[in-house]
């Protein structure tokens, strides 16, 4: 077992005063937009909507950390839930918050934002605060009720050996830790290396903070946003003075088909890691993650099929020889199929693969080698609905990690998911 350095409370994403302040400011009468004739009076006659979800998953120990998330929890051995509420302050503004927990030790405000619709007749919204994820097709359906299986696609969960708070000094440092995203030892200002989890391509368990503008009619959904963090490292408080620009476009050429494309560019390396670099290396910044994703969802009768490919590139500092071949790339592909056999039960299968670009060091005999161990996963199983809002799932998941730490592991996992 490798030691894992737990994040300090300051590093963990927590409800941010700034977000609350922005949201509160927007909700104050007179703020954000002048009151117009016909608007509700100062004491708003809003409407409150509440909802929640709860799921408990059980599986054997994941000896090789295939299912660990950036919250350092095994997603197959997790009790998680959330309680959300939306309050319609006026016809044009709604405030939304959601409190989530994972196991007994982790509680956080996952959502806290205001949604503003400037014109009732135009399907255009502005969202401000800790906002829903924009990038990719899966991020908004990761919870028990929307996910036909238990795990998350690799792009949204599998931990790479890149960190937001420390950098590999050279290519050998990177190659030496292939396949160890759950505990990556890089120097971080101290005497020796410290250990922390790496980042996934897209961190779906945390929402970023910023402003989104979205338009949706029957055929087209378009969202563009400016946020504090990056796909792999969303934050509440900006930790590097770099903003992320993110966008997504979904086109429905027919009701049976949805084609989506997403793109993002944001700085992922935090300020302390960037400032700790040797001066020549600092000149190579900014340390950005660029990503593009395409996805498709097709359905017919009792079948639903989804596919998604995400390509991500991280620019990394070149500190010393043998130099890291920056940018480092990763490609994650997912194919998921669900078939409803009976009204109350369905079968589903998902195949995943994550490939990575090569770097060349002195390790591996100087042969260009993927900078992190490629991972594959197949998960198949089914779900049975006891009621419309209570579902049992049983799956089998098999994972493979290729390379120096080539490993293979299989699990049977079960989940009970409840939502209201």
């Amino acid at each position: 077992m490798f030691p894992i350095r737990r994040r300090t409370p300051a590093q963990r994403p927590t409800p941010c005063v700034a977000v609350a302040a922005v949201t509160a400011a927007l909700l104050l009468p007179g703020a954000g937009r002048a009151q117009e004739p016909g608007d509700p009076p100062a004491a708003p006659q809003g409407r409150l909507a509440v909802g929640g979800d709860l799921s408990a998953s059980i599986a054997p120990e994941d000896e090789y950390y295939f299912n660990y998330t950036d919250y350092e929890l095994n997603q197959l051995r997790l009790v998680t839930g959330g309680l959300g509420a939306s309050f319609r302050v006026a016809s044009w503004i709604t405030a939304t918050a959601e409190l989530r927990f994972e196991n007994a030790d982790h509680l956080w405000m996952s959502a806290l934002y205001a949604r503003i619709r400037p014109a009732a007749s135009v399907p255009f919204d502005i969202q401000v605060g800790r906002v829903p994820p924009v990038f990719g097709a899966f991020a908004r359906r990761r919870y028990g009720s929307d996910n036909p299986l238990i795990s998350t696609p690799l792009a949204y969960q599998s931990l790479t050996t890149l960190r937001y708070d420390a950098v590999p000094p050279n290519a050998d440092s990177l190659l030496a830790v292939r396949g160890r995203g759950w505990s990556v030892p890089y120097p971080n200002g101290g005497d020796g290396p410290d250990y922390a989890v790496g980042v996934p391509l897209v961190a779906s368990s945390r929402w970023d903070t910023g402003v989104l503008a979205s338009y949706a009619d029957g055929r087209l959904e378009a969202t563009i946003g400016l946020t504090q963090g990056s796909l792999s490292h969303p934050v509440v408080r900006d930790d590097n003075d770099g903003k992320q620009l993110v966008g997504r476009l979904v086109w429905h050429p027919s009701p049976a088909l949805a084609l989506g494309v997403s793109a993002a560019r944001g700085e992922y390396l935090d300020e302390s890691a960037a400032y700790g670099l040797p001066v020549p290396a600092q000149a190579g910044g900014p340390w950005v993650q660029r990503a593009v994703g395409v996805d498709v969802e097709a359905s017919a009768g009792h079948w639903v099929a989804r596919a998604e490919v995400i390509v991500s590139r991280w620019r990394v500092p070149v500190v010393e020889a043998p130099e890291v071949d920056s940018p480092l790339g990763a490609v994650a592909s997912t194919l998921e199929v669900r078939y409803r056999v009976r009204p109350s039960w369905y079968l589903a299968v998902r195949g995943d693969h994550m490939a990575l670009s090569d770097v060349t060091g002195t390790l591996y005999a100087g042969v260009p080698t993927a900078w992190d161990a490629p991972v594959s996963r197949v998960e198949a199983g089914g779900g049975y609905s006891l009621t419309r809002q209570l579902r049992l799932k049983l799956v089998y998941q098999h994972d493979w990690r290729v390379g120096r730490r080539g490993l293979s592991e299989g699990f049977v996992a079960g989940q009970i998911a409840l939502w209201f």
Partner: protein, 228 residues
């Protein structure tokens, strides 16, 4: 919400206490059901996946009630004609929200939206899943057992409807003002029940005189328990 699937099922089978052979003189039970719903403090959150994208929707009319006879007269068991009914899907809403039918009725579910819908039910009285189908298409289900069937859309979690399936034809869905009318009831004494999705149901005894005629029955449904 009080559901009476047992009553609905048993109502078709129970003849005890019902009048004898059908008579020419029949009566009408009519009146008004006042539904005293407390103001809705909460409604269901659209869910995490829809946060920020929720459309403003008109909530279903929870004031619609169904008035029916608990025990049906023998005339109820005359050979029924095959019936057809319809629940439309418009603006991500089932229309009507409450439908009452007799056993054997086939209900069409046309999709009048621009998006796909997937109508399904997990109710014991009728479990079905019509799969996804596009605008302009319609699928149908025949309801062959009495009971209450809750209908949903698998894609749009906010869509729901109720279908009450009766073993007889003596029922009525209230209109927008709460009025109802059950016609052709043979003389006799009956238990009239009221069902509403949001409030506990209630029952009253009603007698149609031998000469027939109209009997008026107004009922108020509220959260408060009835006094014995």
């Amino acid at each position: 919400m009080t559901m009476r699937p047992v009553a609905l099922a048993v109502g078709a089978a129970l003849l005890a206490g019902s009048p004898g052979p059908a008579q020419k003189a029949t009566g009408v039970i009519r009146g008004r059901i006042e539904v005293q719903l407390p103001p809705a403090i909460f409604e269901r959150n659209p869910g995490v996946s829809e946060l920020g994208g929720a459309k403003a929707r008109r909530p279903p009319d929870r004031r619609r009630s169904v008035v029916y006879l608990e025990t049906a007269p023998r005339a109820a068991f005359e050979e029924p004609q095959p019936q057809r009914a319809r629940i439309d899907q418009r603006n991500e809403t089932f229309v009507p929200h409450v439908l009452a039918i007799t056993v054997g009725t086939t209900v069409d579910f046309p999709n009048s939206d621009v998006t796909y819908h997937n109508v399904f039910s997990l109710s014991k009285a009728k479990s079905f899943d019509l799969g996804r189908y596009a605008a302009g298409r319609s699928k149908a289900v025949t309801f062959d057992r009495p009971g209450i069937v809750r209908v949903f859309c698998e894609i749009h979690s906010h869509m729901n409807a109720f279908i009450l399936v009766f073993g007889h034809r003596f029922f009525s869905v209230t209109d927008a003002e709460g009025r109802y009318r059950i016609e052709g009831v043979p003389p006799g004494t009956y238990t009239v029940s009221v069902w509403n999705e949001a409030l506990p149901g209630t029952s009253r005894s009603v007698t149609i005189p031998p000469a027939g005629g109209d009997v008026e029955l107004d009922v108020t449904l509220s959260r408060e328990r009835e006094r014995p």
